[in-house]
Amino acid sequence: MTIHDNAPLLTVRNVRKNYGGKAVLHDVSFELKKGECLGIVGESGSGKSTLARCLLTLSGWDEGEIAFRGEPLAKASRAKLMQVRPQMGAVFQNPAASLNPRLRIIDSLLEPLDQRRGFRPAILDGVPPGREAAAAALLELVRLPASTMGSYPHELSGGQKQRIAIARAISSAPAFLVLDEPTASLDMTTQAAVLDLLKDLRKELSLSCLFISHDLAAVHFMSDETMVMRNGHIVDRFRNNELFDDVRHDYTKLLLEVFQE
């Protein structure tokens, strides 16, 4: 499959989603291009996490279209979804819930690769064959010692678990990553370390990603372009250095003021 380099990976057109008789997403439209990092900032209840689950085909929506590499997903069959999903990666907020507590780290970490036998992503080039070698290489990528692979999730800290979730998400060389509040439940210094790691990986692997957070500063740090969400609407969007411009939406200005203090 050859794709035009400038064709968007993800196209979202007028997506609307209702929940309990109320619209939680109104007329959301945007595109994600290859190699780009798009930030979404919003308070709790703004619909940003709902949007993330829709993009990942983990929940449905009511109107509009989401297309992945030009292919519409609204009415995709289950088989189609199972084929599309492995090309997306995700890291969620709660590190405690992101790993099955009953599985050793190596088994959680390699689940995407175990699932696609015969597939070997570029990040494992030059790594000897075998599960352990692959796990060690992935752990190294997120600056964790290889010995971590034998542990159970409850033996690790939140930051370590979140790094494993990141390693797992990039292991199958996804077309894009959805990072939904990946640092929100971490301590400040851990948060910074994970942000640094994500930024490094973005550069090393030229990842495309959607970075979702309530923290305007973190979004500003990570992304090239930012969308501001409020009550299910996208109220503002701007390139990174335009944040300080005077033409910004009032809500954006308010957020900026709060986070600049």
């Binding site: 997306m88 790993l99 699932q115 159970y152």
Partner: protein, 271 residues
């Protein structure tokens, strides 16, 4: 309770379970052999626990009764789990219309207490071992369905389930790989405690004449038989009663232990 004691409890329970199904009866007496000359003997050196109203050795009957009592209990338990867990998982995972069919059924069954429903069902089906088994299974499966359903509802929302789906797992594989093993941990803990409850329930039903019938050396019917001779020979009731109690206690022990271990592992381990 400290850990060594809990471990000891587990060991005794395990040893008892192994002994139950492997060792032949250690007494020289035949649990079915009637000997009218030796009726209602009190415990003594020859018959350690005495004899019953037909002169049968009580110890031999208790030992012989362990297998049907606990064995039937186990069978009922396994059948209940085999019915309840898949239905509960299906209901919880599918959600939507499937769940809206199963949920009221589960809730409806749950409103009726074990004893009452089992007694009424046995009453409707008529006395006998088979109808007692059906009655108890009908009462018990729904507990496992409810448990499995709530586990499925909780786990499918967790991020690791979402990540598994993103790895390309089919929903069926997701259940088999992640959610079923998780549910089985909870099920095991509930089942161990439930085994005791089932034994008690069946003993009561047998006592009411709704369960297994004589001459089977099942503990419940032994209790029922012994009742007529309660004043003359209280040991007839004492021994099977104690046997039931010991079995239920051991099962409870094992249940607590399983639950603790399971909780520790999930909560992140204080131990």
């Amino acid at each position: 309770m400290n850990t060594t004691m809990r471990n000891a409890g587990m060991l005794i329970a395990a040893a008892a379970a192994v002994a139950l199904f492997s060792i032949p009866s250690p007494t020289p007496w035949n649990p079915y052999e009637i000997s009218m000359g030796e009726r209602l003997l009190p415990p003594g050196t020859e018959h350690w626990l005495g004899t019953d109203h037909l002169g049968r050795d009580l110890l031999a009957r208790i030992i012989a009764g362990a297998r049907p009592t606990i064995g039937i209990g186990l069978a009922v338990l396994l059948v209940s789990i085999a019915i309840g867990v898949p239905l509960g998982l299906l209901s919880g995972m599918k959600g939507g219309r499937t769940d809206s069919i199963f949920k009221p059924i589960i809730d409806g069954f749950m409103t009726f207490p074990d004893y009452l429903s089992a007694i009424i069902l046995s009453a409707l089906l008529g006395p006998g071992l088979m109808s007692m088994l059906i009655a108890v299974i009908a009462v018990k499966w729904v507990r496992y369905a409810r448990l499995a359903r709530s586990v499925a509802l909780a786990e499918k929302e967790k991020d690791y389930a979402a990540m598994a789906l993103l790895s390309g797992l089919s929903p069926v594989r997701l259940v088999l790989k992640h959610i079923l093993p998780h549910a089985m941990g909870h099920v095991a803990a509930l089942a161990a405690a439930d085994l005791g409850k089932i034994i008690l329930l069946m003993a009561s039903l047998s006592y009411l004449g709704l369960g297994s019938q004589p001459p089977a050396p099942e503990w419940g019917s032994m209790l029922s038989e012994g009742r007529a001779y309660f004043h003359a020979a209280p040991h007839l009731m004492l021994a099977p009663g104690l046997a039931v109690m010991a079995a239920v206690l051991l099962a409870g022990f094992a249940g607590n232990r399983l639950r603790d271990r399971y909780d520790v592992k999930l909560k992140g381990g204080a131990e």
